[in-house]
């Protein structure tokens, strides 16, 4: 697959992530009603839906450890992504270097002796 095709795919991912920001309009604020928060987690929405369907349901177990704040949570998510991306980058980097060295080895005239 060509470089331009790869670039196109990457671009599409970015576009898909941006489209929602202008597609979704913030609903008009109604007096007295709590402000509607956009782009919250779907997991939270599902939790609210459980509350609507089964208002009597009480969660019977609490998380053992909760991130101290939103900031700490984003730190941990960033860490998770960084560990993963670091490993993938290392692996592909090794592959790139190996190929280059192999080419140099094959290309150098002294090696052909």
């Amino acid at each position: 697959m060509s470089k331009s095709k790869n670039l196109m795919m990457l671009l599409m991912v970015v576009v898909l992530a941006i489209i929602p920001f202008w597609m979704v309009q913030k609903p008009e604020a109604i007096d007295g009603a709590p402000e509607i928060k956009l782009f919250g987690g779907s997991d939270d929405k599902a939790k609210d839906m459980i509350g609507e369907i089964a208002p009597d349901y009480k969660p019977w177990f609490e998380p053992l450890l909760e991130p101290a704040s939103e900031e700490i949570a984003s730190l941990l998510f960033a860490l998770q992504a960084a560990i993963g991306a670091g490993f993938i980058g290392y692996f592909i980097g090794v592959g790139v270097t190996r190929e280059r060295m192999l080419k140099e080895k094959l290309g150098s005239p002294t090696r052909k002796l």
Binding site: M1, P20, G41, A46, K47, I53, W60, F61, A78, Q80
Partner: protein, 225 residues
């Protein structure tokens, strides 16, 4: 797709854990066998795990106005077989449950079942079918990862609908409600996951063809070059 801690009734929590357990055991034995047979694949297994780590940490906005994340389990399922992703997904979900209060221990079985079992098996099955129908490697990988991602979220919706049937409409009405939250939100994200999986597959095919050949992609790589 993370069902939050304590948000499944006890019987459901136990039921999904019991359902997930044999797949995790099968996956561990399958990974052990593959690594014993070919120790060099250890690094590639790391890549499959790392991919799931990255993608499941990326919370992306969707057209429904809420955010969700891809799963990243399709890549590993195609490389190591679908069972291998059960223990891999368990590790990712355990990390999130213990450190991030994202998902939970009581809902771990259900979350493993959707993300680390249904997703990978759908991805693997779709890939096989796509290839059988003569689709190219890239097209097969795209639909595998994309639909595996989507079915993970459909599974979560089914799990919640089973646990919390609508008082009026029952299971079906409840499923429609949860699928409206999860599955619709997930559609653009599933497309993103498909594209990203093709991208990393291309990178692996370009720079690590030897490893991929050993994983049974020899025919596919010949056809590409």
């Amino acid at each position: 797709m993370h069902i939050m801690e304590g948000f499944l009734p006890v019987e459901h929590a136990i039921g999904w854990s019991v359902a997930s357990l044999p797949f995790v055991a099968w996956g561990i034995s399958s990974i052990k066998k593959q690594i014993a047979h070919n120790p060099e694949q250890r690094m590639l297994l790391g890549v499959g795990t790392a991919f799931a780590f990255v993608l499941s940490a990326l919370k992306l906005p969707s057209v429904t106005g809420s955010c969700s994340h891809p799963t990243g389990t399709g890549l590993g399922a195609l490389l190591f077989g679908p069972a291998a992703m059960a223990p891999v997904g368990l590790v990712v979900l355990l990390f999130q449950a213990l450190l991030l209060a994202h998902g939970g221990l009581t809902t771990l079985g259900a979350n493993v079942f959707s993300m680390a079992i249904v997703g990978p098996f759908v991805a693997w099955g779709i890939y096989k079918i796509a290839r059988m129908l003569g689709a190219s490697l890239a097209v097969g990988v795209f639909f595998a990862a994309c639909l595996g991602d989507l079915m993970t979220y459909v599974t979560t919706s089914v799990q919640l609908a089973l646990a919390f049937p609508d008082p009026v409409g029952g299971f079906a009405a409840s499923l429609a409600k949860f699928a409206g939250i999860f599955a619709i939100t997930q559609i653009p994200l599933a497309i993103s996951e498909g594209l990203l999986t093709v991208l990393i597959f291309n990178a692996l095919a370009r720079f690590n063809p030897k490893e991929l050949r050993e994983m049974g992609f020899a025919r596919e790589l010949e056809a590409q070059s």
